[in-house]
């Protein structure tokens, strides 16, 4: 009966999600019937800025689209411009891009695992994970000069090199974090309380995930074997890895995918450090880009898609960014109906939403 229904606003300010998205939940008793999203609280109009900034300045602007996967935004933008201008970057730069990308993936996934633990009320696990994340952030600061927005990409390569002794330090920290994660891993995969809150919650079938065009770990949790890293950009074509896939499609599967991806990233960093060649880290770039291009990169949250139209001047004509969360918001609308109100925070977090990304 319609009169039993209540609308409860989830957000834009909510303790489990520090970012502003509002889901108006139509509730019948404790059960969600429908979720109506409304976004637009943090729109900053960054795409419009390409008309006033030149393409070299734009790298720092796109890096600020997201505060977590910032390096990958700059990477995608630079790769797009490089392919427009036929620039081949040196091999060492390709490997360095892999190392920094994977460090970013690790710290993003650790941030998410911590927030997930927090969303089902496991505070000490949250603290434990973030303690490990801090080590990774320190490595990022030591190698690049900044904790998160590291600004090392330029068109034609990189601005900073990682010296040999620093490379050893990176390996040491990665090894230490791996040992610490091994200890904590079991809590996520085997703990009764964690399983109780995540197994069978927010199930998304493989067919539905394909239909909605879900990307990244959210899709891989439902059995979609899609990982843009297999395209072989940067040095990924010379590294050995297979996409992590789980088939259950519930919150637990999405959590396990990200947990396994942390270890995969540790492995990729070790591979990249062992294979990295010596040499230059950038090539000089002259002229301005002209033409249209599309670039795709696997971010921690999934595939990011850049469309760039250039007209031969230093200012670009059009930039369009489709971030992974934009593609993943339909999951919420698909799996919310039928869920318990208490599970809404866990389901919302399970897609790893980044609202600032989505609205740019």
């Amino acid at each position: 009966m319609p009169d039993r229904r209540t609308i409860i606003p989830f957000g834009p300010q909510h303790p489990v999600l520090p970012e502003p998205i509002q889901l108006r939940l139509v509730i019948e008793d404790e059960r969600v019937v429908e979720a109506i999203p409304s976004v637009g609280y943090v729109h900053r109009g960054l795409e419009k800025l390409i008309e006033t900034k030149d393409y070299n300045q734009m790298i720092f602007v796109v890096e600020r689209i997201c505060g977590i996967c910032s390096f990958m935004h700059a990477l995608t933008f630079c790769q797009a411009i490089e392919s427009l201008m036929d620039v081949e970057i040196p091999p060492r730069a390709k490997y360095l891009r892999v190392i920094w990308s994977e460090l970013h993936r690790v710290h993003s996934h650790l941030l998410w695992l911590g927030l997930m633990a927090d969303s089902f009320g496991f505070e000490s696990l949250f603290m434990q994970i973030w303690k490990i994340r801090e080590e990774i952030l320190d490595v990022l600061e030591k190698t690049s000069g900044n904790r998160v927005i590291i600004s090392t990409n330029i068109v034609g390569g990189l601005r900073r090199d990682i010296k040999d002794d620093m490379m050893k330090h990176v390996l040491n920290v990665v090894g230490e974090c791996k040992r610490e994660m091994d200890r904590v891993k079991k809590v996520f995969t085997h703990d009764y309380t964690v399983k109780h809150r995540t197994v069978g919650v927010g199930v998304l079938s493989k067919g539905k995930a394909y239909e909605l065009g879900i990307v990244g770990p959210t899709g891989r949790g439902s059995g979609l074997e899609q990982d843009s890293r297999t395209l072989g950009y940067a040095a990924y074509d010379q590294l050995d890895f297979t996409p992590v896939v789980e088939t259950d499609g519930d919150c637990y599967a999405r959590m396990v995918v990200r947990l396994r991806e942390v270890f995969q990233s540790f492995d990729l960093i070790e591979q990249a450090v062992s294979k990295i060649p010596k040499g230059e880290i950038s090539v000089p770039v002259k002229g301005n880009p002209d033409g249209e291009v599309v670039a795709r990169v696997e971010q921690p949250r999934g595939e990011v898609f850049y469309y760039i139209k250039a007209n031969g001047t230093k200012n670009l004509e059009r930039l369009r960014v489709r971030t992974p969360t934009f593609a993943n918001v339909p999951v919420l609308l698909a799996v919310m109906p039928g869920a318990q109100l208490a599970d809404v925070p866990v389901i919302t977090l399970s897609i790893d939403p980044c609202i600032s990304c989505t609205e740019r």
Binding site: K53, N56, Q57, M58, I59, F60, V61, R64, S124, L125, Q128, K131, E134, D138, E141, K142, G145, N146, I149, S151, R159, R160, R183, V184, K186, V187, H190, D191, T193
Partner: protein
């Protein structure tokens, strides 16, 4: 919860992961990007840093022989440091101390 027991015991007997901030400071790493300053005596007021700055934080005046940076606009990308022909823009690894009122860092050549 019992799976955390090993970690809990380890944490009990190890030193804390956090530091007591005012007593123990976190020393900045080498090459960290803290804030931007200038050695004004070498500046030739060419204005390249102003042109390249992605945040429009730098203003250079050739006539007034002044160079100023708005530290609250500056994103510390270090493009100015790298593009300076006289290498007189300095990147300080220490973060800028907090202030009660926003101010602009203005330097004038004598």
């Amino acid at each position: 919860m019992f799976r955390m027991l090993g970690n809990i015991i380890r944490n009990l007997f190890s030193k804390p992961a956090t530091r007591k901030y005012p007593q123990t400071r976190r020393e900045p790493f080498e090459n960290a990007r803290g804030c931007i300053d200038i050695d004004i005596s070498n500046c030739i007021f060419c204005g390249i840093c102003q042109k390249k700055c992605p945040a429009d934080a730098i203003k250079v005046s050739k006539d007034g022989k002044s160079w100023e940076i708005d530290p609250y606009k500056c994103i510390i990308c270090n493009v100015c440091t790298e593009s300076c022909p006289k290498k007189c823009i300095l990147s300080n690894p220490e973060y800028k101390a907090p202030e009660y009122q926003k101010s602009i860092n203005r330097r004038v050549k004598e």
